[in-house]
């Protein structure tokens, strides 16, 4: 509490005494953060573990049960699970560096501090559709011409895709409106279906939705050049940066009714029983970026097109659509968490 309000300058001597900070991170880019951090604060050793959000969650829970403090800082995605299973049990706690209080909008500061935003949005092959997205409305995906040609990762295999499904259900009202726009008549719900979102998911699956195991398979399927009739599907906007290397033609479909997908946060949080509380706070502060307009070395690994910093003061990445122009739902992790399991069960019943 006391520490929470300390400035970097005040934290530094304490952190130096601790001399070490352990970070669990869901991305290997933490390696580059580590180098930068140790260069910025010599004498404080950052120890970084790279593991998926799921593995972090398993590890944090087991560690808590065993009474050991593994990490000081947790850098994690998979917001709904983190909130319900970690934050609510106080296994991880919120920390917002004083420096960030004014730079990060409220919605990204609570219940945990979000460092940046990622996406799962509808994307298409710009080589096959040079005139823009062939789809203007999510409901188009349930039409016969897209039968067997919509692709995504099995929402029961990956949390972010389940979040997408959940958001669609949460935004049922928008979905119902979009239905009218697409078919020119009000939506009629099928039996046992409670809302337009569920109806959409049902119809999508009924339209021979193709499921795969990883985002990369989606990218390849959609993006591969030289296809006459490529599928369309949901994936990460930021993967577009690999277009050149991989030979893809991925492009985001932004103008979609009611939305092209979701934007979700990556959290930076403290371990409630951190062994190095000061260094932990210092590390979070560092990872939020410095005062330069690209966030400096601490944020550099995350300053990529298709991911947006939650800080409002950083410059837009030149290659990407600004967040404000991006037509996505920003998930509300708390709301999502509430019905996520039900949506999972709903999807489970479909396949």
């Amino acid at each position: 509490q006391d520490l929470d309000s300390k400035s970097v300058a005040d934290l530094l001597p304490l952190a130096k005494k601790e001399a070490k900070v352990t970070v669990y991170a869901f991305t290997s880019r933490i390696g580059r953060v580590e180098e930068a951090f140790e260069a910025a604060y010599p004498g404080i050793d950052m120890v970084a573990f790279d593991m998926s959000s799921t593995e972090q969650i398993a590890r944090i829970k087991s560690e808590a049960a065993a009474g050991v403090a593994g990490a000081d800082v947790i850098y994690i995605s998979d917001a709904p699970v983190v909130l319900t299973e970690l934050a609510s049990q106080n296994l991880v706690t919120r920390y917002v560096p004083p420096r960030m209080e004014s730079l990060v909008p409220e919605q990204f500061k609570s219940p945990l501090l979000a460092q940046r935003l990622s996406t799962k949005v509808l994307m298409y092959n710009e080589e096959a559709y040079p005139d823009g997205s062939p789809v203007k409305n999510l409901w188009d995906l349930t039409k016969p011409e897209w039968k067997g040609r919509v692709i995504m990762v099995d929402p029961l295999q990956r949390g972010d895709y389940l979040d997408l499904m959940t958001e669609i259900v949460l935004k049922s009202d928008d979905m119902a409106k979009a239905y009218e726009a697409a078919f020119g008549k009000p939506i009629a719900l099928g039996e046992g279906i409670d809302n337009a979102g569920e109806q959409f998911i049902t119809d999508l699956f009924a339209n021979d939705l193709v499921l795969v195991g990883s985002t990369d398979d989606v990218n390849k399927a959609i993006g591969a050049k030289g296809q006459k009739n490529p599928p369309i599907g949901f994936t990460s906007y930021s993967d577009r940066r690999d277009n050149e290397d991989e030979g893809w033609a991925l492009q985001v479909a932004n103008d979609i009714e009611p939305s092209n997908g979701i934007v979700f946060p990556a959290f930076l949080a403290l371990n409630a029983t951190a062994a190095n509380p000061a260094a932990a706070r210092l590390a979070i502060d560092f990872m939020m970026g410095d005062d330069s307009n690209t966030g400096g070395d601490g944020f550099k690994p995350f300053y990529v097109a298709g991911d947006w910093p939650t800080r409002t003061d950083l410059a837009q990445h030149p290659d990407a659509i600004p967040l404000s122009d991006f037509k996505s739902w920003q998930i509300d992790a708390a709301e999502t968490a509430k019905i996520r399991a039900n949506v999972a069960d709903f999807v489970l019943a479909l396949q």
């Binding site: 290997s28 295999q157 990956r158």
Partner: protein, 575 residues
């Protein structure tokens, strides 16, 4: 005082080893497993109801379970047939190029199964998931979905991946089969095929069961192949389901599925156990010396050789080639163009691969390499030493209930998803237990968990070979007054050497490739190759990940070579 001691001693001699092994298995396997079981029950057991008796259970459990069992049994059968056939060819016939076939046939399970699946796709893939089709579509054939996706390709790919396990274990066993058993069969006028399936494979039943069980366990817990080939037609297996459940935060359901997977598998594995525990003996190494027997294949020599070569090339060279290409080609869409060594040795270049330098510039590659090797070697020796002891206990001391428990327990780690296994280890041994310090964060904990995870391989292979040594050989050594470990070292070990080498190899390959357990338990000061590969992959640097995978593969291959050479230097008279 003396009387109870007197009573104790003979029963110790009779059950002591088994009891000791049971104790170790409780610590290594049963306790962590119980932790997981308790977790699933803590919240009222709702997950059990969801999985077994709810409107969801059909999709959540029953259908995936059915698929899993079909796959498991088909793969086990296929692997035993294919692996057994190749083992027979290599060990018992004069097929040309035996050493090379032997070498190649051990490779497939070192190649990650996604590469094998990729190889399948490169031929049979159709346009269902976009992109270009495979070779067949390229030639103008239209490939139906059942051949591109789902059950059939999954089974074929898994057989192509796991038959090497069966091959390795069965070949080791066959090489010790006393020639006169085969000769006796030849005298009856039986055809080669008849002898193979009527005598040769049955006399090495322990190895066949070991190979089959390992393949079964591998197949039912494999994730990559059903995820790659099954999902597009919405075929789910228990492993994809439970992986998904854990992934989307429904951990309890995931663990319930894992426990159910274990339970179902235990039924099938129990059948194998019963055969091994029956009165039947499989002592093919007799105390009368033995001459090895080789069939001359005659006119079938070339056709059979061709068949073996085709299988080997398709299941090893093709996936390896694809893997190699995938580590050289900038685009995963056209694997055979624009090859560059950048991903291996390139210096950092901001304009290419997001500035990532080649893997040989990775600052931790060397330390990852050495840690991997050291850890691998340590774990493998620990696991196999234990495995041999367990195998001896199971073969020589048949204690009614305990033996069965030991046998089953030693197999379970193979079926339990690594993430669950590792989590249980942290939960159980992470905190201090009584006077014992917390093991969390130590290499010891990782070592213990990996040792437990490798036990199935060690026990199965050990058991297959120990069962072949006729009892009187050991008894003759007991008569000399040599102690248990002395006999183990001088008599059992050399006679079981081939099988043990197989066990060492299989577990080594597994341990250096293991990710699921390592990723939760490793210590960051010493990353492992698998973790390295994983972090590359998780950021979308596939070429780099594949390059590291190839490094792992090369290490595995070197280990195989070493094992072969070691074996070759021994005079193979009894075998």
């Amino acid at each position: 005082m003396t009387v109870p001691l007197r009573r104790l001693r003979p029963s110790l001699a009779r059950y002591g080893l088994t009891a000791a092994m049971a104790l170790i298995l409780v610590v290594l396997v049963a306790a962590p497993l119980a932790t997981i079981l308790i977790q699933t029950l803590q919240s009222g057991g709702g997950a059990w109801a969801d999985v077994l008796a709810s409107r969801l259970s059909q999709n959540l459990f029953w259908r995936p379970a059915t698929n899993t069992m079909i796959i498991g049994l088909a793969v086990a059968g296929g692997c035993v047939l294919l692996g057994g056939f190749l083992a027979w060819l290599v060990v018992m016939t004069d097929v040309p190029g035996r050493p090379l076939i032997a070498f190649m046939a051990t490779l497939p399970f070192m190649i990650p199964s996604f590469a094998t699946a990729l190889a399948w796709g490169s031929v049979f893939r159709n346009g269902r998931v976009g992109g270009a089709g495979g070779l067949l579509e390229g030639l103008g054939f239209s490939v139906p979905d059942w051949l591109s996706w789902g059950m059939v390709p999954t089974i074929v790919v898994l057989i192509a991946h796991y038959y090497a396990l069966a091959f390795t274990v069965i070949a080791a066993a066959l090489s010790t089969v006393n020639g006169d058993l085969v000769e006796a069969a030849q005298m009856t006028g039986a055809s080669r095929k008849r002898i193979l399936f009527g005598i040769v494979l049955p006399v090495v039943t322990p190895a066949v069961i070991a190979g089959g069980s390992l393949a079964f366990a591998g197949a039912v817990s494999n994730f990559a192949a059903p995820a790659l080939l099954g999902l597009p037609v919405r075929m789910q297996t228990l492993s994809t389901r439970l992986f998904g459940m854990i992934e989307i935060g429904q951990t309890e359901r995931g663990y319930v599925l894992a426990i159910l997977l274990i339970a179902i598998s235990a039924i099938f594995l129990g059948i194998g156990n019963r055969i091994l525990n029956s009165r039947r003996s499989f002592a093919t190494i007799s105390g009368k010396g033995a001459r090895p027997r080789r069939f001359t294949l005659g006119t079938m020599r070339l056709p059979l050789a061709l068949l073996a070569w085709t299988v080997c090339i398709l299941t090893t060279l093709l996936p390896i080639l694809l893997l190699l290409a995938a580590s050289l080609a900038p685009s995963s869409l056209s694997l055979f163009s624009d090859w560059t060594l950048h991903y291996w040795i390139g210096a950092a270049d901001p304009a290419f691969a997001r500035g990532q330098p080649g893997i040989f510039h990775h600052p931790q590659l060397i330390s990852a390499l050495t840690t991997t090797l050291m850890l691998g070697a340590g774990v493998v020796f620990a696991a196999n030493a234990l495995g041999l002891l367990i195998a001896v206990a199971l073969t020589r001391q048949k204690v009614p209930v305990l033996s069965n428990a030991v046998s089953q327990l030693s197999f379970l780690p193979m079926l339990l998803p690594g993430i669950a296994f590792a989590a249980a280890y942290i939960a159980l041994y992470g905190a201090p237990i009584g006077p014992l310090p917390a093991l969390y964060g130590t290499k010891l904990l990782l070592g213990l968990a990996l040792t437990a995870a490798m036990l199935p391989f060690a026990v199965q292979t050990g058991r297959a070979t120990v069962a072949q040594i006729s009892g009187d050989i050991d008894e003759a050594a007991r008569m000399t007054g040599a102690g248990f470990f002395h006999r183990l070292w001088a008599i059992t070990l050399p006679l079981a050497a081939r099988g043990l080498a197989a066990g060492l190899l299989i577990s080594f390959v597994n341990v250096i490739g293991d990710l699921a357990i390592t990723v939760l338990l490793y210590t960051p000061t010493s990353p492992l190759l698998a973790v390295l590969s994983y972090s590359y992959a998780s950021d979308g640097f596939h070429q780099f990940a594949n390059a590291v995978t190839l490094v792992i593969l090369v290490i595995s291959m070197l280990a195989t070579c070493a094992a072969t050479l070691l074996r070759g230097r021994r005079r193979q008279t009894f075998a």
